[in-house]
Amino acid sequence: MIAATLRRRASRRVLPGFGLSLGVTLTFVSLILLLPLTSLVGQLSQLSLSQYWFLISDPRILASYRVTLLAAAVAALFNAAFGLLMAWVLVRYEFPGKRLVDALMDLPFALPTAVAGVTLATLYSSQGWVGRWLETLGLPIAYTWVGIALAMAFTSIPFVVRTVQPILEDLPSEVDEAAVTLGARDGHAFRRVILPHLWPALVTGTGLAFVRSLGEFGAVIFIAGGKPFETEITSLMIFVKLQEYDYAGATAVASIVLATSLALLLVINLWQGRFTRRLHGGGA
């Protein structure tokens, strides 16, 4: 009933006037997104192409891209697997404390990232509660790239859980029951019936988590160790350049991170558009 009312009202438009709302939207997009981006491009324009190339292809900076990309990729894959699992558990099962676990999923968003970083470093260092045991197994976590990936995974897991969860909620368990009654075994039903529906959301969530990890500074910096060529992340290199009053250098490196993130988001969007069209036979 309510849904029907909403749908009827939607055509009358709840917000006042197309012109006004679009105007406000564009103003805010300009102020909050475009203005800082413009000033970034402005800083970049002080550099010649060869200077720019020299700055972004310094071996130490290249090493930092490698560390950052590797750690972010591992963190994103980890989150894809465990985020999907968590979303599944939260949607499909009832258990005491479910609301609490659900709320906990947002904790990484709420917690200041520096606090997360300090806590993780304390836990996973060779003296920490967890790190002590892992160290005896020959698995040092803190101050290695694994630690960086861990901090990235921590800060970005809500992206996967919160994008997959609503899709899963829209998918009643009758769907997998139907698949099973039609003769699909459990694993088969999941792969052929459920996963295709979750696929776009899962990829979007994982992509967002990856992009977020690329730029993460606060949480990672405390656990990274900052050893040249080994555990220096790209955002640390930007910070270093700022400390040297080298604004142009900082923006040059930042532009690489930004371009990578934007390109990735664009690819995900395009892919998702194609996927949706294929799924709905070109209709939607």
């Binding site: 260092s125 910096i221 160790g225 900052g226 060529f229 640390l236 910070f239 040297e244």
Partner: protein, 341 residues
Amino acid sequence: MLRLASSRRWFAASTLGLALALGSIGPAQADQPRELLNASYDIARELFAAVNPKFVDWWQQQHDEQVSVKQSHGGSSTQARSIMQGLRADVVTFNQVTDVNVLADAGLVAKDWQAQYPNHASPYYSTTAFLVRKGNPKQIENWDDLARDDVELVFPNPKTSGNGRYTYLAAWAYADQAFDGDKAKIEAYMKRFLGNVEVFDTGGRGATTTFVERGIGDVLITFESEVNNIRSEYGQDGYEVVVPPVSILAEFPVAVVEEYAERNGNLDLAKGYLDYLYTEEAQRLLAGFNYRVNDEAVAAEFSDRFPQTELLRVEDVFGSWPEAMKTHFASGGELDQLQRR
């Protein structure tokens, strides 16, 4: 419907709140006491929290005027950047000569600021010292021990921290003396020294946490003042302080940000504040925080706290700060070369 009503009430309340907030930013009242803003480095919070009330009393006695002092703390370079971007500080009390130089280059501080106050405008100084674990199990006595294969070091990143920069310069100055200026030998030593670093934190306090709380490394290298504060903070038993026989002189420069002090009408107050730091009373306070001071009476009083060491000036070993920055810390400079694989 309920939701709509409550949101409308919320809107009204927030509008009212905004109006009140805007209203309170009226013109300042004339009879309000003058306010001095001191922009300082990160770990000086406790120090200036102790100094400021004493200065207020001192100023009251001298000039019969009630004033107040506000503090702003952050990384010294970050502070310099904020001031250039408009933080209207009257005085700066930094731990980096270069960061005051940046302000001088921007025309906010007088070009000859180092000549305006005694001891190169550095009312107190310190040096880099070592904190080792109880009983000094690795037998660390001097800088050459730090380049041994079995020693792990923790100190902040020289690229992001002034503290770390001093450590780097101190090690270089030691090697310069030990190897009689033989550059190949100095660089070989520095390579081994830097290679022993287990964790590069971005700042001094971060390095302290890594060493103390996480138990990483055999030696923490940081300011002598900080080393002593850690010992009193975390107990005398767990650690030992080693002050090497030769190290670098770390000046803590002060300057009036003339451009802003004048505009704030605080020029005399700002100058008075820096003068006060040289008085015996303030020097005693500073020595209490484990900084070395030049006031002879106070220095004699605290002599047991500060072992005799040979302190080298950056200007004498490296020519000048700008030169040291350019050769060693700039992109592609000596430090980058040493850390290249």
